[in-house]
């Protein structure tokens, strides 16, 4: 319907390519890689909250399901990483469907509680089903990542893979944003009552969105597991869901660039604050509070205001 924002996509692409050639230090590459993982998750969260109005505090659980399912399936059945990740993504989507079926009838705080509860249950399962997951000590038996016969190992080659994945998802998010679907979701978010009376099957739409974002998050989680080479439940607890929430909000809800900018800033920020250690938490909180209080549209809104043009549409 609306025109795709090609300058934005090209800008992202240039940054990604520039980063590849300019950043030689693996430390910075690893931060960018983490930033991209976070960005995809935060964008999924953004689609849920910023577009559809579903507050999901269980996103970390889907991320974890993806990571654990991919590596355990690969380890126990000897499947290649990529098919395992796809299976994990499908499995997570199925889980989201089953969970979403009863939960998405709830609203607001009740929905927040339900998704939070789901996240907690998955967290307990990750800890307790030690015969599959390795329990709290973590899962170490992760094979080397191979894709199309090329083995991907180390920050440099993973950067290329994750950057491609990230760019594909960004393009998809942008296309989604400009399609009628994003309107449909915004209608649901703004007025369920009006959307219902104009023939939108709210529940079905929400369920589909919830399922697909869970699938993407899990796919991302699977790749993350192979990148990190070790996973343990602490990476997928409630705190991570909250981190995603803050990223999406700091970046700007309801925009494609919101999740990306929020993830980039909040992934990079703690690295610069490493020297002030004790005060890092306070500063992080203040940064968040200041963004919410003074920047209604998040950082995307700020950029829009400064440049006077639309960064995302």
């Amino acid at each position: 319907m609306r025109k795709i924002n090609y300058p934005f996509l090209i800008f992202v692409l240039i940054i990604l390519i520039l980063a590849k050639f300019l950043i030689k230090n693996e430390y910075y590459l690893s931060i960018v890689i983490f930033g991209m993982f976070n960005a995809i998750n935060a964008s999924c969260f953004n689609i849920l909250l910023g577009y559809t109005g579903i507050i999901s505090l269980g996103q970390a659980a889907f991320y974890g399901i993806g990571a654990y399912f991919a590596v355990t399936v690969a380890a126990s059945f000897g499947i290649n990483p990529m098919p395992a990740i796809i299976l994990a993504s499908l499995f997570s989507a199925l889980a989201a469907f089953i969970v979403g079926y009863p939960t998405l009838k709830l609203h607001g705080h009740y929905l927040a509680m339900a998704t939070l509860g789901f996240g907690m249950i998955i967290y307990v399962l990750m800890n307790e089903m030690a015969f599959i997951t390795g329990g709290p000590s973590g899962f170490l038996d992760i094979s080397q990542f191979k894709f199309l016969g090329i083995s991907i190992y180390g920050e440099h080659s993973f950067y290329i893979f994750v950057a491609i994945m990230f760019f594909i998802f960004t393009v998809l998010f942008e296309m989604f944003d400009k399609s009628y679907l994003s309107y449909k979701l915004k209608f649901i978010k703004e007025s369920e009552f009006a959307s219902k009376s104009f023939g939108i099957n709210i529940f079905k739409t929400k369920l589909i969105v919830f399922t697909i974002t869970a699938g993407i998050t899990a796919f991302n989680g699977g790749v993350y597991a192979y990148y990190s080479g070790f996973i343990s439940p602490v990476s997928f607890n409630f705190n991570y869901s909250i981190e995603l929430l803050t990223m999406a909000i700091v970046g700007g809800l309801g925009t494609v660039s919101g999740g990306i900018i929020g993830a980039a800033v909040l992934t990079a920020l703690p690295e610069f604050m490493a020297s002030i250690e004790d005060y890092e938490m306070i500063l992080y909180g203040c940064f968040l509070a200041v963004t919410i209080i003074f920047l209604p549209g998040g950082l995307t809104g700020l950029i829009k205001r400064i440049t006077g043009k639309n960064a995302s549409d």
Partner: protein, 250 residues
């Protein structure tokens, strides 16, 4: 066209609607009147599937739509407006109209994301233009709704309700809050719609408006139908007068 049969609903012991039955005939304007709290909007909500009635049945074109989901009701060709508008303030007028149509057509999401259905979108754009024109709001098409005056929004809501070419239009107080000029225009628009063979069923308080337009008037009080007939009949009906002015004997 729309048949209400013995519909009843309770809200915590209060009978909001009690054994309500009437028909909305095809191709004309039917008005539902009654004092505040008579159950008019409740009835609308039952018809459109937002409330589940305890008793009775609703038929649309001889098809039972009792307790159907709102989107099913809408798909049958029943479109409505609201007392409190229910527009989406963050979006432009044009985008608000989109809501009226995508729920009906349900275009493929995948095709839409991959941008494979551009022909369809051309048709949609044309429809939007057309509806904006007949409601007279074309010049503000790209403005955001929250910066528009109430009258324009009222028309926008009308446009949103007719863009999907409904068979019947349920209007909840269409004239409320409009000035006289706007009311005149609205009457013109409704007559135009009747000519387009769209049945209109409206809740309205403005008796002048009702008298000018309605072919058929139904009066509700305390959840009961107390009168049903032409405007002239209703005006002289004692019970209606009592309901509006209060019972002098009481």
């Amino acid at each position: 066209m729309l048949q209400i049969k013995n519909v009843g609903i309770n809200f915590g012991g209060v009978k909001a609607l009690d054994n309500v039955s009437f028909d909305v005939p095809c191709g004309c304007i039917t008005a539902l009147i009654g004092p505040n709290g008579a159950g008019k909007t409740t009835l609308f909500n039952i018809i459109t599937g937002f409330l589940k009635n305890k008793t009775g049945k609703i038929f649309f074109e001889n098809e039972n739509i009792t307790n159907a989901q709102p989107y099913h009701v809408f798909a049958k060709g029943i479109s409505r407006t609201f007392q409190n508008l229910n527009l989406i303030s963050e979006l432009s007028l044009k985008e608000n109209l989109l809501l009226g149509i995508i729920g009906k057509d349900n275009p493929s999401a995948v095709k839409s994301i991959l941008r494979l259905n551009s022909k369809y979108w051309h048709r949609v754009e044309k429809k939007i233009d057309y509806c904006m024109e007949i409601t007279g709001i074309s010049e503000w098409r790209d403005r955001k709704t929250d910066e528009m005056p109430y009258g324009i929004l009222k028309y926008l809501e009308m446009a949103r309700a007719i863009i999907n070419e409904p068979k019947i239009l349920l209007l909840d107080e269409p004239a409320a809050g409009l000035n006289n000029v706007e009311k005149e225009n609205l009457m013109g628009l409704l007559s135009f719609l009747i000519n387009k063979n769209i049945t209109i069923f409206m809740v309205e308080h403005d008796m002048n408006f009702v008298s000018n337009l309605a072919d058929n008037v139904i009066c509700l009080n305390y959840g009961k139908v107390i009168a049903n007939g032409s405007y002239a009949d209703i005006r002289n009906n004692e019970e209606v007068i009592k309901a509006y002015l209060g019972d002098p004997d009481a």
